[in-house]
C-alpha cells in the first residue's frame, strides 16, 4: 500500500504518525466531513468486511461510469439501426435483443444456443485444433529459436531459410496443405500452426540474442557445461521474450484457424460462421464471432497469467512484436 505515508501525513496534520490501522478505524468511526471526503477517494482502504462500501466504491469509479455509458451508446446505436430505423442492408444484422435472446434460448430458431450440444461441439473442435497447433509450434519453434540465437552456425544456415518462408502468409498455404495432407483435419492444424510457429521462433531468437554476453562468460568462468548454460542462462534469459512470442503466437493461431476453417473446414467455429452464412442463419454468425473473440481473449489472458507466474523476478514486460 503505497499511500500509507500519505494517509498518516494528510489525515491529521500536526499529529505525530500513527499506526495505519488506527487511522483507518478512527476515520470510519468519526463523521468529520474532511475524513468523509478522504474516505471517498479511490485510494482509501476499505474496512474489512465492509462490502457495501466496496461495491459503492466500484460503482462510483469514473472508469466504470464512462465504460457503461460507452456500452449503452454502442448497444443503443446497434438497436436503433437494426430494430427501429433500418437503413438498407442493415437487415442483415440481427438486433441485439433478438441475438442475445437466441443465444440463451432453450429452443433457438437456428439450432445454436448455450443449451444445444452442437454449440459446445464446435467450440471443442476449434479449441482442440488451436491448442494442438500451439503445442506443436512451441515444441518445435522454441528449441529452433534457441538454436538460432545460441549457435552462430545454426543461425547462419537456418535463419535465411526461415526468413525465406516467413513472408508467405499462412492462408496462402491452404491449397497446398489440403492437397498434401491426407486429412483435412491435419491441413487445418498445419495452417493454424504456421504463423504461431514463426512468431515463437522469432521471439525466442530475439530473447536469446538479448542476453548480455557477460552472463555467458560468467557461466563459463564458473565452469558451467553446455547443459547448465542452457538451463540456467539461455532459457531464463530468453523467457520474457518467449512469453511475448507465445502471446502473439496464440493470437495468430486463432486468426489462422478461422481462415483455415472458413476455407477448408467441416466443423469448428469458423465453419459455424460459414454455415450461418450459407443458411442465412444470421444469429449463428454473430454467436460464432463473439465466441471466437471470447476464446481468443481468454487464451491470451491464460498465457499472460502463466508468464507472470513463471517470471516472478521480471518486473516489467518487454519484448518485440513479430
Amino acid at each position: 500500500m503505497q499511500n500509507v505515508a500519505e494517509i498518516t501525513r494528510t489525515a491529521k496534520p500536526g499529529v505525530k504518525p500513527q499506526l495505519v490501522a488506527d487511522v483507518v478505524r478512527e476515520a470510519h468511526d468519526t463523521h468529520d466531513p474532511y475524513d468523509e471526503r478522504l474516505r471517498q477517494s479511490p485510494d482509501w482502504p476499505v474496512a474489512p468486511g465492509d462490502w457495501g462500501g466496496r461495491i459503492y466504491r466500484a460503482v462510483s469509479l469514473p472508469r466504470l461510469r464512462y465504460a457503461l455509458l460507452g456500452f449503452a451508446l454502442f448497444f443503443g446505436l446497434w438497436y436503433l439501426l437494426t430494430a427501429v430505423v433500418v437503413p438498407p442492408r442493415f437487415h442483415f444484422i440481427p438486433d441485439p435483443v433478438y441475438l442475445f435472446g437466441q443465444w440463451i434460448s432453450k429452443e433457438p430458431q437456428y439450432g445454436i444456443s448455450i443449451f444445444t450440444p452442437e454449440y459446445y461441439e464446435h467450440i471443442k473442435v476449434s479449441v482442440i485444433r488451436v491448442y494442438i497447433a500451439f503445442a506443436i509450434s512451441v515444441g518445435i519453434g522454441a528449441p529452433l529459436g534457441i538454436v538460432l540465437g545460441w549457435s552462430s552456425f545454426g543461425r547462419n544456415t537456418l535463419f535465411p531459410i526461415v526468413e525465406m518462408l516467413r513472408p508467405i502468409p499462412p492462408l496462402a498455404w491452404v491449397p497446398l496443405a489440403v492437397l498434401t495432407f491426407p486429412e483435412t483435419e491435419m491441413a487445418v492444424i498445419f495452417v493454424t500452426l504456421l504463423a504461431s510457429f514463426f512468431a515463437t521462433v522469432l521471439n525466442t531468437y530475439l530473447g536469446v540474442r538479448s542476453i548480455p554476453d557477460t552472463y555467458f562468460r560468467a557461466a563459463a568462468c564458473l565452469g558451467y557445461g553446455r547443459v547448465d548454460v542452457l538451463r540456467r542462462v539461455v532459457v531464463p534469459g530468453a523467457l520474457p521474450f518467449i512469453f511475448t512470442g507465445l502471446q502473439i503466437a496464440m493470437g495468430v493461431a486463432w486468426f489462422s484457424l478461422v481462415g483455415g476453417e472458413l476455407i477448408a473446414g467441416t466443423s469448428g467455429l469458423g465453419y459455424l460462421i460459414l454455415d450461418g452464412y450459407t443458411q442465412l442463419a444470421l444469429p449463428n454468425i454473430f454467436i460464432g464471432m463473439i465466441t471466437l473473440g471470447v476464446l481468443g481473449w481468454a487464451s491470451s489472458a491464460l498465457i499472460r497469467k502463466v508468464g507472470k507466474a513463471m517470471m516472478a523476478w521480471h518486473v516489467k514486460g518487454q519484448g518485440e512484436a513479430a
Partner: protein, 268 residues
C-alpha cells in the same frame, strides 16, 4: 597495362575469396542450398509425390507469369490492400490520438474496442459479404479491419509511453497546445506508430489472400485458389511465392518510410 588488368582481376578474386571466408555468407548459402537439394531429392526418390520440385517450379515460372490476369492480379490485390490500409491508418490514427488525449472519450470508447478486437478479422468475412453490396467493398472492409486494431493500439501505446517529464518541460517552457502536439506528442508516438503500421501491412496481406480465396474474381489469392481448383500444383507454388514477395516488398517499403520518418531512432 597488363599489371592493371591483373591487379583488377586479383582484387576481384580477393573480394570473392573474402566473401567465401565470411561465415555468414557461405553458411547461409549452404543452408539455402541444402534446403533446395533436400526438397529436390525428396521429389526424386518419391517421398514427395504431390509437391513439385524446385526445378519444376523454376521451369514453370515464365509460363505462369504469362498467363492471363497474372499482373492484373497483382494490381487488384495491391489496390485492396492499400485502400483498406490507408483507410485504417487514417481512422486509427485519428481515434488513437483523440483517445490518447481525451480521458473521458477513452474511458467510454476503449472497452468497446477491446471487446471487438479479439474477434479475428476473417470471422467478419461472411457478415461482410452479406452486408457490403460488392465483393470489392467486402475485401477492402476486411483489410481495413485487419489493419485498424494494430495501428490503433500502437498509436495509443505510443502516446501513453511519452515521458511525463517531456510534457511538463514543454508546459513550463510555455508551449502552446499546438506546439505540445507537434513537438512532443507526434515525435513521441511516431516510432510506435510505425511499429503498428508494419504489423498492419503484414496482416492486410494475410486477410486479403483469404478473402480473395473465398470471394474474388481476380487477385493473387484467387490465382492460387484457381490453381488449386485446376489441380495445378506449380501454379499454387508460384502463387504462394508471388504473395510472399508482395508482402515482403510492402513491409520493406513500410520500414524504409519508418526509418526515414524517425531518423533519431537509428541507434536502436
Amino acid at each position: 597495362m597488363n599489371t592493371i588488368v591483373l591487379s583488377g582481376f586479383a582484387r576481384r578474386r580477393e573480394r570473392v575469396k573474402r566473401a567465401l571466408q565470411n561465415p555468414v555468407i557461405w553458411q547461409g548459402a549452404l543452408g539455402i542450398a541444402t534446403f533446395f537439394i533436400v526438397w529436390q531429392f525428396a521429389r526424386w526418390i518419391g517421398l514427395m509425390t504431390v509437391l513439385p520440385s524446385p526445378i519444376e517450379v523454376a521451369q514453370a515460372v515464365p509460363q505462369q507469369m504469362e498467363q492471363e490476369g497474372y499482373w492484373l492480379s497483382w494490381v487488384a490485390s495491391s489496390r485492396r490492400v492499400f485502400l483498406g490500409f490507408f483507410a485504417a491508418a487514417i481512422f486509427a490514427i485519428a481515434l488513437g490520438v483523440s483517445m490518447g488525449m481525451a480521458r473521458k472519450l477513452r474511458l467510454g470508447g476503449f472497452p468497446i474496442l477491446e471487446i471487438l478486437r479479439p474477434i479475428p478479422p476473417l470471422a467478419w468475412l461472411p457478415l461482410a459479404i452479406l452486408f457490403w453490396p460488392s465483393p470489392e467493398m467486402t475485401m477492402v472492409f476486411l483489410t481495413f479491419l485487419g489493419a485498424f486494431f494494430p495501428i490503433f493500439i500502437n498509436v495509443l501505446a505510443g502516446i501513453d509511453n511519452i515521458d511525463m517529464r517531456y510534457i511538463q518541460a514543454a508546459h513550463s517552457l510555455g508551449a502552446s497546445q499546438r506546439t505540445l502536439f507537434w513537438r512532443v506528442m507526434v515525435p513521441g508516438a511516431l516510432p510506435s506508430l510505425f511499429t503498428g503500421l508494419s504489423i498492419a501491412i503484414g496482416i492486410t496481406w494475410e486477410v486479403v489472400i483469404a478473402a480473395e480465396m473465398a470471394s474474388a474474381q481476380l487477385g493473387l489469392g484467387y490465382l492460387t485458389w484457381n490453381a488449386y481448383m485446376s489441380q495445378s500444383l506449380v501454379g499454387i507454388v508460384v502463387g504462394m511465392l508471388s504473395i510472399g514477395i508482395a508482402g515482403m516488398a510492402s513491409s520493406g517499403v513500410m520500414s524504409w518510410i519508418g526509418k526515414r520518418a524517425t531518423p533519431w531512432q537509428r541507434g536502436h
